[in-house]
Symmetry: C2
Subunit: 433 residues, 2 copies
């Protein structure tokens, strides 16, 4: 199997010199620290405190069979009601899929409480043949439970309470929380979110797998790709370990003042995974305090961009604006469809495009934009996926989750909490009392 | 008519103190400079060098009548082929519209050269009843002209060259450029992009108006709202002038080290306008050199966020990460649909939500998140739109275009070019020779 590959020539001191270029000495000096960071993550994995690395080993055959029965039944649509980590990853993986990979229910997502969006959703889905998958670990997520209450009432009004309950699937904490209580009271089908996996690391739990299985997405392949990447992360030496190399580069540049991390994927269908990356990096690494309770205000501003489109939007900033970011270019080794550019109808000045395919042009634009940044002394790297198949997507998920965990160790912060959002939540509740 | 409103208590020194709080003295000291900046922009407008402020005065009745004839004819769909400023604004306005405002052709956008996306598009639209609107000022935009060549060949193969030419509409430079030559040669219908309006300021030219008119969007109302905002910008004194106040705040904070400008809109249908804002701020203000050719590497990193969704993704970073950004909260005074949260089926701990509407909750979350940032001493402001009607959207467009022009003056840079992207383009062409 072709692997996801990380290439970092564009951060070396040979390529870009001072102030960003990373020397072999710097890398060597960091190697031990990276090894220790990995060991901490492995220890968390072994002790069961840190659940995300074990998720790829789940056997999804029971879930797949369950989803198959639902798809054979009278259901036509499924709606994920969840926000943040309870939907971003699921939606991202769903968006990366080709329609040929999705032979199940029509899947929809309702994250926000924008009344226009909720109204449109309720106009779109056939209420009596739609499953509603309510995803919240605590069961007190305001946006999710508000939508649940509205939809459940409509179902009860229209179909009666027995049939309504059969259309709700709860994905929540196994033995506590408000949604668990509701599920017990009303008899909703339910799935557990493991307690040792946080929201933004949860896409390979039932949070993602239940909706994806209902949509017909091949979740076994997704998990296989994730397992294979996880094993490479656990086993390979640091110099040959894509995740440790990437985390090491990001950390080295951060120590020198790098503030923004751009992931610029040259593939439209990776846009959702860009949004997912943005949450993962943004929430995990931005912390007021380190583990010793020193005030540090750590954090990297994540930026998700799409090539070639954002060459016409963000690249001017990356080239000429303040020099404070690492741009990781992403792309696909292979597009499963490609189209050749014909020679007639091209303007004369573009005649050299004839005979190239669109994928060739994407490739040329990606490598050219990277070279231009490198000429300007700005750091770049490249993270290529073999393709958009589920195994590659699974590898991508584990790549960034593991890199984030390693960065948490290097920064000596807790990458798995989000204390900064509590104050706003409390004020909002007070306003609504 | 209710106006778009900008409220900036959250950047005052009373609200947030040092280091960000702006005192009355600072504002007074900047007032003259803001006045001069506005005068420069007005001079550019009067002399005809700067076209964007005159665009709202166009009479669109000819265009509207033309679009009406097309919509009455055999056409079902229209596809915008354009990238960056040639499509971002159009797509943004289109996305902000309610389906009830769109009684024309089905509008699609094809920006990227991702082969999967182009392939899907060609599978989706009925080739013989679709108009293709090719938008590029120079006619040498690689992404746009590659797609044009592919589509034109398919049309010619399938329908013959005469009928093929009748399905292409060129929006381009009036008297030069490669697309203009092709239009003349093949007899495409065409519309002019005024030479004194740059791509990212062009949404109120035929770049945006032609597709929007075909989709049935009320472009007269859009222009009216833009004209009204433009007049307020030109006429009102600086203290009472929303655009000058916002530009002054952004500039004052930038001088003190503010690096990121977040626009966090609490409305899903403003997402496209967030993308448009991102290009406008990113490309316009990031410049290696100022007008005196000093190396400055000016620039602000624009971040588009959507509330309440990004409270579960980016707010942890805004609250606890490095303190270097201004967050402007956006929202709607009125949602045209709203839904009440019923009292049964809510978890006990959320019972206080019952009886509130979704819009109430959005409001509470927006103001609460802002208050939490303010408590942490971080600068915030608020830019509210009355609603999502075309007049409000037109005002929003002029607000940010004018603020950007003012910021260009204050930074003493050329806000209307993008020299940094040329190097990458040249390298890409070399790779494809």
């Amino acid at each position: 199997m072709t692997e996801l590959s990380y290439e970092n020539d564009g951060v070396s001191d040979e390529a870009i010199g001072d102030p960003w270029g990373i020397s072999d000495e710097t890398r060597d000096a960091l190697a031990d620290r990276l090894g220790r960071a990995r060991q901490s993550v492995i220890d968390g994995h072994s002790s069961g405190n840190l659940g995300f690395l074990g998720l790829p080993d789940a056997n999804p055959s029971g879930l797949t069979a369950w989803a198959h029965r639902k798809r054979e039944g009278r259901w036509t649509d499924a709606v994920v009601i969840g926000i943040g980590g309870s939907s971003l990853g699921t939606e991202a993986i769903f968006q990366s899929a080709d329609s040929s990979q999705l032979d199940g229910l029509n899947l929809h997502f309702s994250s926000n409480i924008d009344p226009r969006s909720v109204d449109r959703l309720l106009d779109t889905v056939p209420l009596d043949t739609t499953l509603f998958i309510v995803v919240t670990k605590s069961g007190t997520t305001v946006e999710t439970m508000s939508q649940f209450a509205i939809i459940f009432e409509r179902l009860v009004d229209q179909l009666g309470s027995g049939r309504a309950a059969a259309q709700i699937i709860a994905v929540t904490s196994p033995d506590s929380g408000e949604l668990r209580s509701l599920a017990d009271r009303h008899g909703f089908e339910s799935f557990d979110i493991p307690p040792n996996v946080g929201g933004r690391f949860s896409v390979l739990t039932p949070v993602g797998l239940v909706p994806l299985a209902l949509a017909g997405y091949p979740i076994q392949e997704l998990l296989d790709g994730a397992a294979s990447m996880r094993d490479r992360f656990l086993e390979r030496d640091p110099e040959n370990n894509a995740i440790l190399r990437a985390a090491g580069d990001i950390f080295s540049l951060y120590q020198r003042g790098m503030q923004e991390l751009v992931l610029m994927n040259y593939a439209d269908d990776l846009e959702g995974l860009g949004e997912w990356f943005r949450q993962l990096i943004g929430e995990s690494l931005a912390k007021a305090e380190n583990r010793r309770a020193d005030t540090v205000h750590a954090g990297i501003t994540p930026i998700a961009a799409t090539g070639a489109v954002d060459q016409h939007s963000q690249v001017q900033l990356f080239m000429e604006g303040p020099d404070r970011r690492l741009v990781i270019f992403g792309g696909l080794d292979t597009f499963d469809a490609d189209i050749e550019i014909p020679d007639h109808a091209l303007p004369e000045r573009l005649n050299h495009l004839a005979g190239h395919s669109l994928a060739d042009v994407m490739d040329a634009e990606r490598t050219a934009t990277r070279e231009a940044l490198q000429e300007a002394g700005r750091p770049t790297a490249e993270l290529m996926l073999p393709d958009l198949r589920p195994a590659s997507i699974g590898a991508f998920v584990i790549f960034w989750e593991s890199a984030t965990a390693i960065l948490g160790e290097l920064l000596d912060i807790d990458a798995f909490n989000q204390p900064g959002v509590e104050r706003g939540k409390r004020i909002a509740h007070e306003k609504l009392l």
